[in-house]
Symmetry: C2
Subunit: 697 residues, 2 copies
């Protein structure tokens, strides 16, 4: 595949299916391209000699183009792309619909398309795409009614209609774009490709997008991590809710992964996830234009007390805090502000403040080393000129090179001032909460851009032994494993209670005698899932009862299911659950992100309170540590209510070792360690359940 960036800088574009027919897509694209494109446009259509006064050629092979835009009917589209490939055209945008989104026939056609693109190593956008744009060279290769104005956001969308709507709105708001891509069915190029390309693009300052699914989750995470060290990515990933996921599935046929996986994956990727269109653009606009704050403390300068309080609430809701000014700044305020004012944050310069007082206060606040960013908040008064205030705000933002947000509250009085602010990259909002939201996004991206991603630790494990244990399911109908797989954990260095599985009562006694405490005994049979329900578990068994207990367990199992495959009985050290905290570490497979790790406290915490956290595997040491910190019940691990803190590092290490296990063996479809008992002196995995796909071994 040629460099993907070349997609946006073609010199000659072949429009295959170009026409002047009213209402046709081929006409719309021709019109859009002819209007502004700096390069040459070559209509391809054997039916015409020329289209819009441009000489037409009969086939894409004759166009000598470096980008082909394909608008022919679906049944010939694959051939056209193949022709383009033969002719050495390495960039193709397939507008044509009627592929994967329409059923079996379309899906087959889409597979053919992918195969052709791979054969010729092509950058292929679509099919079922609105097209692409790039503003520096005036290329509008879409059939939408809107063109983008130039800017430094690059925008991808899995909905073409959303692009159309955004462009119309954005033109009104003074928001511009560098490149725009309608992803369509993503037969070849997907979100990770564009993130990668735009990350290297000097003209792209922010990457934004609307996605309904992410095709290859882990690849996306790794790509986005690199990019977000200097370019912010803000995405709406829809289908967040159950109802939304169902709607997404019927819209683009996206097989919804769980939103837990997206939430975890996007967070791990360093992506700022917006929950609404408004959040998307509120964040993107400041990220496009403003410097990052050095700290999270903001100064609010206002001529109105009430809105100052509302703003402070919004700060309280965010990751930001109200700055505490240095004595020097407070002295300045004391000298310059009237007595009724407030020299502390929010700084109330009072309703009779003129522009000079506003400017001086903002200047002093921005000069304060404790202040990371400032918010200029004003209500209309007779003595204040909004236009001048806007100019002062812009000038002081530049002078101090700190981010500044504006909340000039008003309507008509604000319009021209708002333009001054917007031109300088300072969006203005009527609602203080939105202005605060912008500063919050800047602080968030500062943290993301400075993240150090540590590689997952590679523990020394016994991979071969693990493979053997997993292979025990081969040839079986039921591919679930239970306590008989405790050794799997052992092979990966996850501590388990002392004990063993035996198949004779005498052996059971021997094992029990080697264990200091009384023992727990459990029937081991792949055919008996709910052991407790049939009396298949005995706890606190003293040595003298072990022999009888063995016989009894086997009898019960036989009575329950005469043909059950009984592997034997597990004889295990009693782990004192009261001495520690029960936790659960689990994994299931997400269709987009692969193995998704879960951590939570056992019992009610997971089952009733749903207090859980997720990460896409493999996880690094710091990611595992975060998991143990971010659940609501985390204080219970750290000695809440006078108890000794448990071995949290041991928990974190268990998560990492499990992460390594499930990454090494994609055959493990799901796995739960429940409970993993975390005590002050260490952790022990008491029980395990997993499901294995023998075909992947």
């Amino acid at each position: 595949m040629g460099e993907l960036s070349e997609l946006f800088v073609p010199e000659r574009i072949a429009v295959v299916g170009a026409t002047e027919r009213e209402g046709s897509v081929g006409r719309a694209i021709m019109e859009n391209l002819v209007e502004d494109f700096d390069g040459e446009v070559v209509p391809v259509n054997p039916k015409y000699d020329e289209v819009f006064d441009l000489p037409a050629v009969g086939s894409v092979g004759d166009a000598d183009a470096d980008l082909a835009v394909v608008v022919v009917p679906p049944h010939v589209a694959v051939d056209v792309v193949e022709n383009a490939g033969e002719a050495g055209v390495s960039n193709v945008v397939v507008i044509t619909a009627g592929f994967g989104e329409t059923g079996t026939e379309g899906a087959t056609r889409e597979q053919e398309l992918t195969a052709v693109a791979e054969e010729y190593d092509m950058n292929l956008v679509g099919p079922n795409s609105l097209g692409i744009m790039s503003t520096p060279n005036g290329m509008n290769a879409t059939f939408g009614p809107e063109n983008a104005t130039e800017g430094s956001m690059s925008f991808m969308s899995q909905s073409g209609a959303f692009i159309t709507a955004v462009l119309d709105w954005a033109n009104d708001q003074g928001i511009g774009f560098k490149d725009v891509v309608s992803l369509g069915n993503k037969a070849v190029l997907d979100e990770a490709d564009f993130v990668d390309t735009w990350g290297d693009d000097e003209d792209t300052d922010v990457i934004i997008g609307y996605l309904e699914g992410i095709d290859a989750g882990r690849e996306f995470i790794d790509t986005a991590r690199e990019v977000t060290s200097d370019t912010p990515i803000v995405l709406v990933k829809s289908g967040r809710t159950d109802a939304g996921a169902q709607a997404a599935s019927s819209h683009t046929g996206t097989i919804a992964g769980s939103d837990e996986a997206y939430e975890a994956g996007l967070e791990q990727a360093g992506v700022i996830r917006a929950e609404s269109v408004q959040e998307l653009f509120d964040a993107a606009r400041v990220l496009e234009n403003q410097p990052l704050p050095e700290n999270d403390d903001i100064a609010v300068i206002t001529n109105a007390g009430g809105p100052g309080v509302m703003t402070t609430d919004a700060v309280g809701d965010s990751r930001l805090s109200m700055a505490e000014f240095t004595d020097e700044t407070l002295d300045t305020f004391s000298e310059t502000l009237p007595e009724e004012g407030n020299i502390f944050n929010p700084v109330d310069i009072v309703g009779d403040a003129d522009n000079e007082r506003f400017r001086e206060a903002l200047d002093a606040a921005l000069a304060d080393e404790n202040v990371g960013a400032a918010l200029v908040l004003s209500c209309p008064t007779a003595v204040l000129d909004y236009g001048e205030l806007a100019e002062d705000t812009v000038e002081l933002q530049e002078k101090h090179d700190k981010p500044v947000a504006a909340c000039f509250m008003g309507g008509e009085r604000v319009t021209s001032a708002e333009e001054v602010l917007t031109d300088a990259g300072i969006p203005n909002y009527f609602d203080p909460a939105r202005a605060v939201g912008g500063l919050d996004a800047l602080a968030r991206f500062r943290d993301i851009s400075r993240r150090e991603y540590d590689d997952p630790v590679e523990f020394d494990v016994d991979r071969e032994r693990a493979r053997e244990i997993l292979s025990s399911v081969k040839g079986r109908d039921d591919t679930r494993l239970g306590v008989e797989a405790m050794d799997l954990l052992d092979a990966y260095g996850i501590e388990t209670p002392q004990g063993d599985i035996v198949d004779a009562p005498a052996d059971a006694l021997e094992v029990a005698e080697g264990i200091e405490s009384d023992v727990v005994m459990k029937i081991v049979s792949p055919d008996i899932l709910h052991k407790s329900d049939i009396g298949g578990v005995k706890v606190g068994v003293p040595n003298e009862e072990v022999y009888d207990a063995y016989e009894d367990l086997v009898t019960r199992a036989r009575n329950y299911q005469p043909d059950a495959n009984i592997i034997g009985v597990q004889v295990q050290e009693m782990v004192d659950l009261d001495a520690g905290v029960e936790t659960i570490v689990g994994m299931n497979k997400d269709p987009q992100f692969g193995p998704l790790l879960m951590f939570g406290l056992g019992g009610i915490f997971v089952e009733v309170l749903e207090d859980t956290t997720f990460r896409v595997a493999p996880v690094s040491e710091s990611e595992a540590a975060e998991m143990t910190e971010e659940i609501d019940s985390a204080p219970l691990l750290r000695g809440a209510r006078g108890r000794d803190p448990v071995d949290v590092e041991g928990v974190s290490e268990t998560i990492q070792r499990l992460s390594q296990l499930v990454t090494d063996f994609p055959a493990i479809l799901e796995l739960d360690i429940n409970p993993l008992v975390a005590a002050p002196d260490g952790v022990k995995a008491v029980d395990v359940r997993l499901t294995v796909d023998p075909d992947q071994l």
Copy 2:
């Protein structure tokens, strides 16, 4: 006090302090009043013969006015108001600042003002107010730069600047008002008064407000409850966060009650609390104009799949759900929509939909009995006329009399269509989440307006015995009570474990012998707060050890503090904590709302997870029941994880009895029953702590 509604319909307004002096407040008010007011304006100023060509009088007594607006300096303002009172002017707006907001002298002046107003039974707004407006008679008695346009929202604000900002913005957005009040320092009239008045005002469809505090919480709740049976109230109460509360305190001197109290009180009052300015107006606009939905199921009709998914997410985030259409409606969609469309909700009528297809689909959806409201969601296309779509939307909304929200996504293309929608009371948003938010507010208000408020149950209690127990703190330095006050609970019918407090070991034994189980023994002394720490608690004491245990407890207490006042030893039935769920029922006093009840599960649930709920007392049966339902850990009361459900009704009754106790005795400053053990067969209050103010007994 005359009817407060008269404040807004004066015939003659005296402006005391009227002047033509440039830049003065007296001039600004005169200008605003003269411009539009239907009645007469009488300037009052002994220095002038006329002001703005109107003949001036020397004193308010000579003006024969029914409303006086006072803009004289603070030191004469009280006298002016008194003169007005003597002259029989019953409505006064005090613009003058320099009262309670400025320190001791001002506070005294404000008390004088209140006294005068009360003496003459006056409706007094302010002091320190921007003024008031009423649009039907063109009265703008403020000194702000903006006038309101006519509408049916009435608006009160504790910030004058916020009014100014809102009016400028609202005029731009086509939002009008009936009355507007700048509350100022609320020396006489406060939010409850205006809620009450506007609730009876036929021209007010929605009451909105910005408040930093509510003066008399319980009164406000009772007033608002009546009003919200037909008039919605939407409020921003700022100071939600700690930082915000601090800022509010420095702005208006509001002593912040806890936000838990406001959250509970506003909910109990039926007020819709907005967290931001945007939320305030998004809710108010639909409530002003649209009918209430009969159910929570909404239909989304769209020509764009992607935005349809985003909208569905927003529905998932709200109290609403996506409607399931009847077979009849599905048949209609099947016949009229193209194959690529989606006949299920969100209904995708596809990008090539023209106006007719849109209209037919919306008509069918609104006709469906399963549909409570509809959202029209569209992206710009070549075949769709937005203006026509707006007209169809308005027409169909009226035809079916169901609420409709609009999300016509776009900028310039939408402007004129947006006007058609706005004029018909259908606000249009670019972000689908905001359109959904509007419908959500309608559904919320429907529930509020249909609420039945049951009166608190009056239990048969022994009030005199309770008074006696509480009175035991009289004359003591330490007014806290502990287990020695268990009888207080008993007097109010709250079940406590069997047992008694005794002051001799033989008596201890006698009590213990009357109890079936082993007993718990605790030292009882107001001087020993943390009994456990000094070994002052013994659990599981069998009868044969009771005598020695008594001696030992007293010895330990003496050793710990030789001069401690030792009342004796409590001998109590052992309550099996494992047989039930530990809960906490508590109360503390909020400065605005009075007794605030708290409920939560004991131990980690309250202390680590902060899983609590609050209500302002007194509570009714249904409010108490809600408290037991709305905590996250509520399932644990109802038999989660295979346990028997506990006596939740007993818990609810305990909350109600405690509510009655703290309402009967305002002297109880705080009280905690911890734990209240809730078992399947009943509840028992095992321990209690309270603080009493003897002066209120």
